[in-house]
């Protein structure tokens, strides 16, 4: 039912820094709230465990605690490329996850960042992840979802981060 979702931007920091921002500093830019975090409005911290096999986690900061695993890292090439699996709360245990590849390429004194979110074809057409949308509506929705996150990541990398 679906193609891959590709979102691109540039950021005015070197690829090594852009990779670090995307991974080590993920919680600084990954937006909060039900549209962006599996835990919805729960107080949480997003975290990449560095290296292949590491997890992308949402760690809860409330009294209930615990963490939700979005997926595992399958490619970890600092300053170059990152691939991780991604599953939402609406994925059944053992169900195939989707896959996110993030590429960091030198570009005009900064970095071109490309996010490719794929693997939708392995899901049944009526999967909750599609929110009942066909194409191109679903790809449009996912495109702006990543774009909204990249607005925040870029603002962090180029602005607030420097002041920390």
């Amino acid at each position: 039912m679906s193609r891959s979702v590709v979102v691109t931007t540039t950021v005015a920091v070197e690829p090594a820094t852009a990779f670090e921002v995307f991974t080590d500093e993920v919680d600084a830019w990954w937006k909060h709230g039900p549209r962006y975090r599996p835990g919805s409005d729960r107080s949480s911290v997003m975290r990449f465990e560095p290296g292949v096999g590491g997890r992308l986690l949402e760690v809860y900061q409330d009294a209930q605690g615990g963490a939700f695993e979005l997926g595992r890292i399958t490619v970890w090439e600092p300053a170059g490329r990152l691939i991780f699996e991604m599953r939402g709360r609406d994925f059944a245990p053992g169900e195939p996850g989707t896959e996110v590849e993030v590429r960091f390429e030198p570009f005009s004194g900064g970095t071109r960042v490309t996010v490719e979110h794929r693997g939708w074809d392995a899901l049944p057409k009526d999967h909750a992840a599609f929110h009942g949308l066909g194409e191109p509506a679903f790809s449009n929705m996912m495109g702006v979802w990543w774009a909204d996150l990249l607005v925040a990541a870029r603002a962090w990398a180029e602005g607030e981060r420097a002041r920390h």
Binding site: A137, N140, A147
Partner: protein, 144 residues
Amino acid sequence: MPQNPPDGVQRLIPMLVYADAPAAIDFLCAAFGFEERNRYEMPDGRIGHAELGLGTDVVMLASEYPEFGLASPRKLPALNAQVFCWVDDIDAHHARAREAGAIIATAPEPQGYGARTYRALDPEGHRWLFAMPGAVDETDRNRA
């Protein structure tokens, strides 16, 4: 009687708000092909009002004025409006925006209503839909 609307502007004009309005003016000109027509700087350094032209139309923008209840989308949990804009050559427009660092959310693609569109976000998260008329593709209409 004065001309209404005045020359070089349309009847409906978006008025956008940016945390860093001077940077936004630079970006919109470099990435989306606007031309700065004028800007009014306030004594505190904020932009009270600016106008950017695109062909015979104009978009207005200003700095954030929290006292007026105006904030950049960066500070908001969701958008309540987007800007839709017809352009002459969508592929060239897309290539220029991409090179200038726009966040490209969706590449140019035929839509079911007879237009090709792409979506780009500017650095503060305003969402722009650029479109060019195109033939209605039946397979595309079925997908939509």
